[in-house]
Amino acid sequence: MTMIDTTSYTLISEAIKTEAKRILTDGTVTAVVGYAAARRKGSVQPIVITTPEDADKLLFSKGAVNNLAVYLTKAKKEIPKTGRIGIVVKGCDLKALVGLMGESQLKRENLYLIGIPCSGVLGSIIQPDTELTEDTIAPKCLECDVHMPTGCDFIPQGAPITPELEKKYAAEIARLEALTPAERWSYWKEQFSKCIKCYACRQVCPFCFCEQCLCDRNKPQMVESTPRPAGNFAWHVIRAMHLAGRCAGCAECERVCPMDIPLNLLNRKMAKELKELYDHEAGLEINEKGPLSMFNEKDDQSFIK
């Protein structure tokens, strides 16, 4: 079992504290969204600080799993959106921020980005004091191509240590693709039947920034809101469709699902298809138009008779 070295996180934490203190003191930002320690050993929770004194609470660790970008979207009204806001971002989180900028939700000049040279964080529902290994690491980290974020305002010293590990999503997608439609149907039916419609997947998603989700509407009711198999199925299909071409791959939906539904598989599958169809990939460049808000006259239409 490969252990992943996260000793650099201690120095990174120190650097975050110092930088947060500085930007809050000199008025560069009005608030910093970051991570702070929680009660359970090794556990971490998001925090919003507005005073230099609170900067000492900030840290980065293997438990810093959240994508904090969600706090800057319109769906999160609790954080004042006035002035410039500092935010601690891993590479995956940064991709989401970039996506939000492309969708006119955020402006770069209103953000102060503290990028993390990240070797990886823990997976879903894992005791927070567990060591980071190839078994406990979040599956998204195995596919990460932005361990070292770029274009940030501040990046602490430190080089991410990223051993070559087996990628899980690609293999799982390939496995499912090889099944018959009926087998895939029963796989997803079983998974979706667990869904309790707590909407944690939606609430943590940086791209679910709609103030009124289409699935919350009842006139007309586009999706059955009851957590029955039929409504669950429709919800997850529509969620995946709405995120197609937008999802930045932070896998928060999958991490937070209390019923362990492998939601990111759907998102990764869509990403794979959009890469194949339109050469689209979520990255660190701001694109005003996503793959589904533009077209090329020569787009593939082999499926249309």
Binding site: K194, Q203, P227, E252, P258
Partner: protein
């Protein structure tokens, strides 16, 4: 009444009950997740893990139909669901933190309005509790006055013994009836020692002090720092053994449809959203405050109990690491 049952006989008992057409609900693996679900055989039981959701579903379903309608011409035909037809159920291997929540639910569903749906299902359910022998750092039953071998809510309570098998103890007529009906599977208790109980590493919280602070601090800046991070999902409420809010929704088409009772959660923005568009709880801090207030003050005001049994599910599953044990602990230390 106290009796002993071997693991094998326990399995036989389960299989017999299933064979007799009873619905036996126990922790079971479903697509990788342990949940209380109906068994098709005793082999499916998973006894070493706390299920992801509590067993309250057995009498307070995630969603249930109340009435259905069908339009025919200009007439509407309504069909009520008759609670008398609900199935007899055994809820097996329920952890004390889940069973302890059952009297709490009983109280609220049989208060001024008697909820026929809940009560009928509840009456038809026999609950077999199981003592906890392990815990993790999210468990905090002892902090809120519940023990890993708490008998509250159980008709029959089982304790694992060192040498295998369970010590069974009846706590109601239902429990005794079950034991009597299958007496041949049980023997008299022996001198075997019980497995050591779980010991959650938490301090006991002075719930009176918590309530006292809540009584006076509806408006307090602390709520912001506690719950600004809340993203407004319903995970905490839906995995909680004691949360019992529901929503009535009508779903269907012009032709036919159903009125359903679905779980609801006070974390949702829609929970208090008025038809006018106004929302008195206009932010997550206010919504989360309601969760704490309801659990440690409002419910106490009404029923003299706390609406939290310390199962720790919401702590483990909160997407943003909100820790109710920490929050309540902090409050209890305030003046």
């Amino acid at each position: 009444m106290q009796k002993f049952i071997t693991e094998q006989n326990f399995n036989t008992l389960i299989d017999r009950l299933i064979g007799a057409g009873k619905r036996v609900v126990a922790p079971k693996l479903n697509a990788g997740t342990v949940l209380y679900e109906p068994l098709s055989g005793s082999g499916e039981m998973v006894l070493d893990q706390l299920p992801r959701r509590s067993g309250k579903e057995a009498f307070f379903p995630l969603c249930e139909d109340i009435v259905s309608y069908e339009k025919e011409g200009q007439k509407v035909k309504l069909t009520d669901i008759d609670p008398a037809l609900f199935p007899e159920t055994l809820l097996v291997a329920v952890r004390p933190c889940d069973t302890a929540a059952i009297p709490v639910l009983d109280a609220v569903f049989s208060w001024d309005y008697k909820d026929q749906f809940f009560l009928e299902r509840r009456n038809k359910t026999t609950i077999i509790g199981l003592a906890c022998t392990s815990s993790d750092d999210a468990c905090f039953c002892t902090a809120v006055g519940i023990s890993p071998d708490d008998r509250r809510g159980s008709d029959l309570f089982m304790t694992q013994l060192e040498g295998g098998g369970y010590l069974c103890e009846t706590h109601s007529e239902k429990g005794e009836a079950l034991l009597t009906a299958h007496a041949e599977l049980f023997t008299e208790p022996n001198s075997q020692k019980a497995k050591p109980l779980a010991k959650p590493e938490v301090e006991k919280v002075d719930l009176q002090k918590v309530k006292a602070w809540l009584d006076n601090n509806f408006e307090d800046p602390a709520w912001d720092s506690i719950a600004t991070r809340c993203v407004g999902c319903g995970a905490c409420a839906f995995v909680c053994p004691a949360c019992h809010c529901f929503d009535i929704v009508d779903e269907g088409t012009e032709k036919s449809g159903k009125r359903r009772k679905n779980w609801d959660a006070c974390g949702f923005w829609k929970f208090t959203h008025h038809a006018s568009g106004h929302n008195p709880r206009d932010g997550q801090p206010k919504r989360y405050r309601n969760r704490i207030m309801h659990k440690f003050k409002y419910y106490d005001d009404k029923f003299g109990q706390t609406l939290c049994t310390g199962c720790g599910r919401c702590i483990r599953l909160c997407p943003v690491g909100i820790d109710i044990a920490e929050i309540v602990g902090d409050i209890s230390r305030k003046n």
